[in-house]
Symmetry: D5
Subunit: 126 residues, 10 copies
Amino acid sequence: MPADFRSVLETFDNPYRQRNYIVETVCPEFTSVCPKTGQPDFGTLTLTYVPDQLCYELKSLKLYLQQYRNHGAFYENVTNTILDDLVAVTKPRRMKLVGDYTQRGGIRTTVVAEYIAPGFESVALS
Amino acid sequence: MPADFRSVLETFDNPYRQRNYIVETVCPEFTSVCPKTGQPDFGTLTLTYVPDQLCYELKSLKLYLQQYRNHGAFYENVTNTILDDLVAVTKPRRMKLVGDYTQRGGIRTTVVAEYIAPGFESVALS
Amino acid sequence: MPADFRSVLETFDNPYRQRNYIVETVCPEFTSVCPKTGQPDFGTLTLTYVPDQLCYELKSLKLYLQQYRNHGAFYENVTNTILDDLVAVTKPRRMKLVGDYTQRGGIRTTVVAEYIAPGFESVALS
Amino acid sequence: MPADFRSVLETFDNPYRQRNYIVETVCPEFTSVCPKTGQPDFGTLTLTYVPDQLCYELKSLKLYLQQYRNHGAFYENVTNTILDDLVAVTKPRRMKLVGDYTQRGGIRTTVVAEYIAPGFESVALS
Amino acid sequence: MPADFRSVLETFDNPYRQRNYIVETVCPEFTSVCPKTGQPDFGTLTLTYVPDQLCYELKSLKLYLQQYRNHGAFYENVTNTILDDLVAVTKPRRMKLVGDYTQRGGIRTTVVAEYIAPGFESVALS
Amino acid sequence: MPADFRSVLETFDNPYRQRNYIVETVCPEFTSVCPKTGQPDFGTLTLTYVPDQLCYELKSLKLYLQQYRNHGAFYENVTNTILDDLVAVTKPRRMKLVGDYTQRGGIRTTVVAEYIAPGFESVALS
Amino acid sequence: MPADFRSVLETFDNPYRQRNYIVETVCPEFTSVCPKTGQPDFGTLTLTYVPDQLCYELKSLKLYLQQYRNHGAFYENVTNTILDDLVAVTKPRRMKLVGDYTQRGGIRTTVVAEYIAPGFESVALS
Amino acid sequence: MPADFRSVLETFDNPYRQRNYIVETVCPEFTSVCPKTGQPDFGTLTLTYVPDQLCYELKSLKLYLQQYRNHGAFYENVTNTILDDLVAVTKPRRMKLVGDYTQRGGIRTTVVAEYIAPGFESVALS
Amino acid sequence: MPADFRSVLETFDNPYRQRNYIVETVCPEFTSVCPKTGQPDFGTLTLTYVPDQLCYELKSLKLYLQQYRNHGAFYENVTNTILDDLVAVTKPRRMKLVGDYTQRGGIRTTVVAEYIAPGFESVALS
Amino acid sequence: MPADFRSVLETFDNPYRQRNYIVETVCPEFTSVCPKTGQPDFGTLTLTYVPDQLCYELKSLKLYLQQYRNHGAFYENVTNTILDDLVAVTKPRRMKLVGDYTQRGGIRTTVVAEYIAPGFESVALS
């Protein structure tokens, strides 16, 4: 994943910084390409976070994820990289990404990665 | 959201103050207008609270929420503002609002905000 | 709710007092009358308790609940009153009542009330 | 419903006139206002048709339906009128509209209206 | 069932007599009393009809059905009688009533009755 | 199945002979014994009929079916015999029995048998 | 598929030849091997038939199907062959086999084959 | 319940004593007889345990439960007794029994009982 | 859609030409690009056909559909074109394509197109 | 289970060792043979783990599990052995295996086994 994928992500100022509130975004139309077979992969990404100073803008999130459409990426890598990109851009208090990929060869895979900013360990995500 | 939206909210005396009991209200017919595109938004609001001295009256809650029908509001803002209004009017021990909005551009968003009155941290909401 | 509603409740001796076991009773056919509009209300009551010396007899529970059929009662009141009646008659270690009422005016309400006898705070209900 | 509601509907040339094929459009976010109580109504409209010379354009259909947002309309009327408008503009071989409205006063209503152009009685819609 | 139950039913003029359209009304909160045991019965009534000159008014339908709340009635009787009453008052082209009653003694019963006005045998109800 | 099983079935006069209406009875708690292995079998019986002069009484139907509890019976036999018994006792215009038995050895079996009285071929059961 | 697979199928005399009744057998644990890739395939077979002189015995059906466990077979072939085998052995009035195979390469396949004995075209299978 | 019901239970040596692993057994075909009315009761039993030295053998568990088929037993009693029998025979580290009985008189009952061997309080069952 | 998309489709000889059997293929991972907005579209294609001389090979079908991944195509066009391509290559007795596309702008669209070879009008597809 | 089953398992270097992230793999097509009856068993295996230095490669996992296709294995044994093999090869921080086997003799069994590497007790698996 090229480092400049994240440059399309836009943010806006969190309008309620005084409160630890949760935003969950479900993206059921994620698709990338298997780097091994060249075959398309499909999945549902669920992003959950407690914003700090910034929120990500939803349309830019959609454009960010569409960059993976013809990009080769393994499940473990793509899930962790997307989380890293969103953490780098929005600097949240806490953020979790669940990548739930469709069945291949009779096997279905889900990857769950989470980031907690120092000092926000006790903030809940559900 | 004009400050006077909350003026239509009516309350009645909590008939069981001696007990921390929970009231959950599900409103599947919430609609507002996207301030950016002018397009209507739709969502299900789930309010859960432990009343202290006052309960909100259900019909006035319905009229309060209908004020958003032609009002421009972002998801993060509208969820936190409705919670603020209901907290201001009913002064509950604890109150949570889940705003579950329908899909736009292949993406579905949920916002969860919660208020806990000082001294009621250990009161459960489920 | 007249105080003598609870007189129809019958009990039998708990056959396993040495163990904290749970009995859950689901009553999907509860109906009462809205005291404001005179219109019928409908709901599902879920009673969960850990018996101490006494268990309630199921048929008498059914007859007890049928007394509300033509009785005016608000959701918050009726849920707490039924819990009070059952606690008074069976003196359980712990008891919870969930009243899940059907939609009115596009809004659905659930009320959850719980009783814990002193010394049984750590007994689980699920 | 003012006669000029239908003026926002746009069409495009049916690209496969030689075949009786079916297009089904589900609109779960329809809302209008009850002319009697002034309260908002909600419903899911399902349009199914076999195009002849013209297809309706989806974005203009959305704008057409949004005109009902603050318009008073009974279920029987609104369903038949929307069908009439779409038939007038697209002149289909066959068209059916199912309006499935949410519960009011413990009662849920669905209205089903259908148009068949002369000579197309045997064309199937499912 | 006293003959005057049907007197509360109100009608309005069918606004689209030129078309055979269908109105379906689902009433999930029907309750009556078993004439044998005195115990309450519960069921969901689904009314489907093609109006001719008259439509039934929904609020009056609700009040009509509430008259059965404390009235003794067997499933076979009550379903056929309600159909008869609605046919007598609205004189529809075709009308069907499905009464789906909740389980008693481990057995669940549904009764389906239908009326077709002479000359309307070929009008569809679904 | 002894011929006297059917003697417990009771009937009452069909109160609406002038109309071909349908009664469906679902019995999810049917159990018999496999004559080969002696193991219990379980199933859901769904009886659908258009009564002529007589209806079966529901409590007697329950008692009739309970006679199979410790009786050895193959699926094909038991389904056809129960239908025969009910036809013999109620002489319906049309009657269908669906026996849906639970899985044995990784295989699930359903048996469907139907009776149509001469002259009632065109009467519908759904 | 070797011709002798069908030799394990056992039958018994149809106990109700005078009636066209239906037997449906669902086998959710069918597995064979893809002749191209050597990978295992999985599927649910649903057999529906109207017996004539003979019924197949369920345990022998299970053993018959287990012969495919390590046998190479394409979906189209295996579905038609199993139907042929069962028709050859039981000589039914009518028989249908639905083979519903699990997803491979993002694609799910179902094969439906049916046999009708001459003269039994009007016998229904549902 | 006669004390000798448990004599049919057979055990085998736990092959993985070094690990606290969980075995859950779901028995959806439990049936007994109501001692008051003589009517059959039905339920689903879910047994969950962490074995110590012994595991129960599944076929003997089935035979053990079948002994209740014509035995009178109240829900509270039968659930606790079956747990006692299985604890006595397998001496598990921890064991839980959920008895989920079907609806009677419009009311559904579940009984949950649990046993924890001294020293195994922290072993999880889910 | 370029005419040479269909060149990747491969066929094999129908092994059971003597029988009108049905093959249904569900492809839940179809994606193309909206020619107007450039945004990706997603859908589930369900192909049902009665083969004549040829069957399509599943892996080549998958590759054929993947050609649309970065291709601009309207729903009405793409559904009819894919059907045309598959009919041209396999010359079936009957073939139907259902394209069920995901929600855009609060509206969900399904397109259903069907081909029947002359002389095969009475062959069923379900 | 021969010790050399695990030799087909391949691994790759965990690309995100700095983070405790979760990988869940669901395998709904597991099948083995009952060592007692010789009959095939079926189940869904759900593997959840937090990788340390190594991840298992999905295709090799599929091949590993296929080795059980004609291998005799009891539920308790097979679940614990597969967990042991995967722990031995990938040396994870934490790993859990849920084996959910299909119904036999009216009884359904699930086995849950878990491994925690020393020092990783507080790492979550959900």
